[in-house]
């Protein structure tokens, strides 16, 4: 463990490799986190099923490409299918918990996450899946830094998808309705906005975003039915650090998390990376609560 750490310190170019690869992964975390902050802000639900939506998106891309769909079409397709799934989930489960007790929504989305996780395990099997895009890698600093092209492409596409959604929320009529509902659902309702549809739309958009994130993850890294919860936890901590409705914060926090996680995975060993993610979330919450306690407030 200490050896690994010294290795990083003594070889800055190697450290750069680890950090850069982590930063690239961070864009996908940021994308999923952006969706979570949207649902959290508008529906007031902490969406525990977030990670499973990401993984499901990944499997859709995996299956689509397996059936000969070109990669540039598979990604929008996954988003579209995930939008429909999100819309469906809203009208079967989520709408029942929108204005209920927060525990109820956490429990309900937790149950949903088990359903989707186990369905994926039954349908797609528990193997680790990834897609070889065959794009190769490029090298810097005489080969000390190796970066796969697909990771760069995934990074750019992740930020683009996030940017598109941001533009939609800013300028489209529906986007404005979503923001209005987030500010005050009652007032929005009185002014003629169909808040139920806004909620469904928001949840669908979140699922579409997750679908894109998962599709990029399966191409640049890999997926497996049981890695949903880590994605949920990552999204949650990014939102907690960045704050609701702070796009810049989400990107910065997402990229930092990606880099930090990759470094930790290297120093502690890859088998402890998941444990690190959960431990980091607990630390962030404890630290936040400690900061709040000094103002006689608390996290809730």
């Amino acid at each position: 463990m200490i050896d690994n750490f010294l290795l990083l310190v003594q070889n800055p170019s190697f450290a750069l490799d680890v950090v850069l690869n982590g930063l690239l992964a961070g864009a996908i975390f940021a994308l999923a986190a952006y969706g979570m902050s949207l649902v959290w802000g508008v529906l007031n639900i902490v969406n525990i099923v977030q990670g499973e939506l990401v993984v499901l998106g990944g499997f859709i891309v995996f299956v689509a490409i397996g059936h000969g769909v070109p990669a540039y079409l598979a990604l929008p397709l996954a988003s579209l299918v995930m939008f429909a799934i999100g819309w469906g989930l809203y009208y079967t489960v989520i709408f029942r918990v929108v204005d209920k007790d927060l525990f109820l929504s956490i429990l309900a989305t937790f149950g949903l996450s088990i359903v989707i996780q186990q369905l994926m395990n039954t349908v797609f099997g528990s193997d680790v899946r990834s897609i070889d895009t065959g794009l190769g890698s490029f090298y810097m600093l005489g080969g000390a830094v190796t970066i796969a092209w697909i990771k760069v492409i995934a990074f750019v596409l992740a930020l683009t998808s996030g940017g598109l959604l941001w533009l939609f929320l800013r300028h489209a009529r529906m986007g404005q309705a979503i923001r209005a509902t987030a500010q005050n659902p009652r007032a929005a309702h009185i002014l003629g906005i169909n808040t139920d549809r806004v909620y469904a739309m928001t949840y669908g958009l979140n699922a579409a975003l997750c679908g894109a994130a998962g599709g990029l993850a399966v191409m640049a890294w890999n997926i497996q039915p049981y890695i949903g919860l880590p994605y949920t936890v990552r999204s949650f901590m990014i939102v907690v650090v960045a704050g609701l409705g702070n796009v810049g914060g989400v990107i910065v926090a997402g990229l930092s998390l990606g880099a930090l996680e990759n470094v930790a995975g290297f120093v502690l060993g890859a088998e402890y990376q998941i444990a690190f993610v959960f431990a980091l979330m607990v630390l962030i919450l404890v630290w936040r609560n400690w900061r709040a306690a000094r103002r006689r407030a608390y996290l809730s």
């Binding site: 902490v46 525990i48 489960v93 029942r96 918990v97 927060l102 525990f103 109820l104 956490i106 429990l107 309900a108 937790f110 149950g111 949903l112 996450s113 088990i114 359903v115 989707i116 996780q117 186990q118 369905l119 395990n121 039954t122 919860l229 949920t232 936890v233 949650f236 907690v240 060993g269 088998e271 402890y272 998941i274 444990a275 993610v277 959960f278 431990a279 979330m281 607990v282 919450l285 404890v286 609560n289 400690w290 306690a293 608390y298 996290l299 809730s300």
Partner: protein, 326 residues
């Protein structure tokens, strides 16, 4: 019809009910020796759902990480039994006591860190505890890493092992039930409910809310840890991810059973555990690989349509029919 049945049940004094259940439970493994292990697991389920309800129902703090204490108990007992060099029963007894206290230690440490956090932040903070512990245990060679730990063989004759562990688990469940029954009736129990109903007011009234929460969690962790030690011995083998820190089975079941029976009541979790366990044993095998999907569906359905649970439903009926207090 159903109301008359409910009224009849209510008319039985609690002492009679308890004695009746005690007699049935003591006789059951002799009447149906082939089911002794399944019935022992029933008591494990009762402990799990009751200890979950201590925080989840009585205190209003939903924890998704209580399986941590179960796993810690499993491993603590296993390590003592492997390394102490004592005769079997001495090692088992020492191991179970230590299992309880290790779980308490974990509850104190994590409680100190996490129980100042409220509401859904707490729920999500506990979400990863069991999984993180499973990952760590799977990487630690001293406790067998990913290949788990085999428990020492039971020295008694054929058939006596099942009976022995049935009574041990029954003892743990009974002790747990009576401890919690006593606890919920004390001032401490009232303070717990006060925190659930309005934490700010409880604090303003001078209750040391964080300490109360930590102590409550530690008490539930103790029984869960001991039960974990017994369960490890019953199974004969501990796997870090699939037995000890199994969030997808035990970790979810305990939440489901408590909600099914009725959160925040003494008997609710017991009833929920019995119904869930019997249903599971009867029908689970017919689901052929869809068990865990069914489990998730069950959670969603119960949370959406039956969040008050069986006890809550009974209470609602009682209010409607205007039945007298027993």
């Amino acid at each position: 019809m159903i109301d008359t049945v409910l009224d009849r049940i209510r008319a039985i004094p609690e002492a009679g009910l308890l004695i009746g259940l005690l007699v049935i439970s003591l006789a059951a493994p002799f009447v149906m020796p082939s089911l002794a292990t399944q019935m022992a697991f029933l008591w494990l389920m009762v402990v799990m759902s009751q200890t979950w309800d201590t925080l989840g129902g009585q205190l209003g703090y939903n924890s998704f990480g209580n399986v941590l204490f179960f796993g810690v108990g499993c491993y603590a007992a296993a390590v003592v039994q492997r390394d102490s060099g004592l005769p079997y029963y001495d090692a088992l007894a020492l191991g179970l006591v230590l299992a309880g206290f290790m779980a308490v230690l974990f509850a104190l440490v994590f409680g100190f860190a996490l129980l100042g956090i409220r509401g859904h932040y707490f729920a999500i903070a506990t979400l990863g505890l069991g999984i993180a512990a499973g990952e760590l245990a799977a990487g630690w060679d001293y406790i067998g890493a990913g290949s788990g730990m085999a428990m020492p063989l039971y020295p008694g004759g054929i058939g006596s092992r099942e009976l022995f562990f049935y009574f041990v688990m029954f003892g743990v469940a009974t002790a747990c039930f009576f401890t919690l029954r006593w606890l919920y009736g004390t001032r401490f129990g009232l303070a717990m409910n006060a925190i659930r109903d309005d934490e700010d007011k409880a604090e303003a009234m001078g209750l040391r809310t964080t300490s109360i929460k930590i102590v409550a969690w530690a008490i539930s962790a103790f029984y869960l840890g001991v039960a974990g030690g017994v369960a490890g011995n019953m199974l004969g083998f501990i796997d870090p991810r699939d037995v000890a820190f199994s969030g997808a089975t035990f970790g979810v079941w305990m939440v489901l059973m408590a909600i099914l029976g009725g959160k925040g009541t003494l008997w609710g979790p017991v009833i929920g555990a019995v119904i869930f366990h019997i249903t599971k044993e009867l029908f689970w095998t017919y689901l052929l690989g869809w068990q865990r999907v069914a489990l998730g569906v069950l959670i969603v359905v119960i949370v959406l349509f039956f969040p008050q649970g069986i006890m809550g439903w009974v209470e609602a009926r009682r209010a409607k029919t205007g039945g007298q207090a027993a």
